[in-house]
Subunit: 269 residues, 2 copies
DNA sequence: TCGGGACGAATGGTAGTACCATTGGTGTGC
DNA sequence: GCACACCAATGGTACTACCATTCGTCCCGA
């Protein structure tokens, strides 16, 4: 980014250089999905660096889901590119204090249009999967995990069948993060609503009715948004009622460590 | 993801645990932008792990732009959340072999709608920045870097003023990656086109004409897409012509290393 | 001949130490 | 008062050692 960067071994950090090398290897197609990489000791030898310097790179790649490591076995290149954004996106949400409404709002901007596209070009296989996810939700009863997984697969399939891979990746991650947030606050997915909307969306896609698919998807997300806000309101009310009764909130476990760090650093300054 | 995961120190990997801790610290607001963290030696002491185990975590955070490290100085929490997705997104594009058209297509799906929103709610400050970027492009002459930076700032400002932060972040990264791809293939940004479209978009936003802003943005991106494809076509033609003349392509430097790795691993199996 | 269990090599995970280059502040000498 | 030299602290890298886990192999017994 800064200077010429053409010559070998100019960037100061070995980590950056190694990551660059890995990128090259991936872009060349040398590293294919499922491919077993040499051991860390061999790799470090090959690159001419110590294992100490190599390991952080492997950690970075692992955290992005590019590779998977297993003790006693080895390192494999994972073919699933969708997981690359999962962790970083979580950090983004953390740093930006992104709310779940914002996630739904963002989905609302894109998914209806993608549903319309899906109605135009979805294949038989896609329709089959959609039908299966609906059946899965019907069979799930009150099992939230099953409902959520089926819900994710439903939307993910629509995203995929829309043809735009990048959007598919992006909003798959966003959707899952949204579900994680909801689970953290013990917010339930309304099975009946989900089922009804999914059926409507599925029908319009099956009939290749793009505009109706778009409208149904929009309605679905708007409804989900409303449910989310209502649940949050109810939760806030509950908390208020409880605090009025006098019972203080439960302790937070991680606070002490955080304060210790802050004091340490403050001492430095 | 697997089991209960409620108790302390259950997850096998220290790296994961430490990253989790850092996430907690960030979400608690203990770590604020610009904040100087304790030295690695102190931190490792504090967390009760060795520096060997801590360093990969710092590398991960650094690569996502969450922190910045300087030898002889220390580690600082960077407040800029937008850079979190930069590297991971590049890996995604690498693994998915995402093309520049796909990037523009994705922008095309979202940015027009955001431009419409921007027309409705942009502030005076936003308008000022937009006007400045246009002036910058006018003053840039044929300096591609200045044009690109001004172009980025123009679109970024519109994304920001639309109100949806997440979309802003996402498409800021996508836009920059697109520019990187174009620079890698030595594709120029057409200054005249850019200038004309930016002026049109700016005018419609200034006049709070949402539908026209949306249309202008759409035209802008469609035009950019066409230019991109045309340039690629020209490049392919040129390459073909050159190969017919008999001159072989230049050597690729990184191939030998790649092959060495592959042979090493193959030997293992 | 087949099956199971024990052993061992290889792998990633962690720890400790040492040294280097860079940085920023401190203090000394002009 | 200023400039220079010095020094302590920091992140960067390397080497070594050891641990827990995994997988394959070999040997023993049925």
């Amino acid at each position: 980014m800064s200077a010429g960067s053409s010559s070998i071994s100019d960037k100061g950090d070995l980590t950056d250089w190694l990551i660059l090398r890995f990128k090259q290897l991936i872009s060349e197609g040398t590293l294919t999905p499922g491919y077993k990489l040499p051991s860390e000791r061999e790799l470090s030898l090959h690159f001419g660096v110590s294992r100490t310097s190599l390991r952080p790179v492997m950690k970075v790649l692992r955290m992005m889901g590019v590779i998977s490591q297993r003790v006693g076995d080895g390192t494999y290149l994972s073919g699933d590119a969708s997981s690359v954004l999962a962790e970083p996106m979580e950090f983004l949400f953390l740093l930006d204090e992104t709310s779940s409404e914002e996630l739904i709002d963002t989905r609302l901007m894109v998914e209806p249009a993608l549903a319309a596209k899906a109605a135009e070009q979805s294949t038989k296989e896609h329709l089959l999967v959609l039908r299966q996810t609906i059946a899965e939700i019907e069979a799930a009863g009150s099992d939230q995990f099953r409902i959520i997984e089926a819900d994710l697969l439903f939307h993910q399939t629509i995203l995929q069948s829309s043809g735009n891979r990048l959007c598919g990746r992006l909003f798959q991650v966003i959707h899952r993060s949204l579900m994680n947030m909801m689970m953290l606050t013990a917010q339930l997915v309304n099975r009946d609503h989900t089922l009804a909307f999914h059926q409507a969306i599925f029908e319009s896609i099956r009939q290749r009715n793009a505009s109706e698919a778009e409208r149904n998807m929009r309605d679905h997300l708007i409804d989900a948004r409303a449910l989310l806000l209502r649940a949050r309101q109810a939760e806030a009310d509950e908390r208020l009622r409880r605090s009025i009764r006098g019972a203080p909130r439960a302790v937070e476990t991680a606070k002490p460590a955080a304060k210790a760090i802050r004091s340490r650093a403050a001492r430095k300054r």
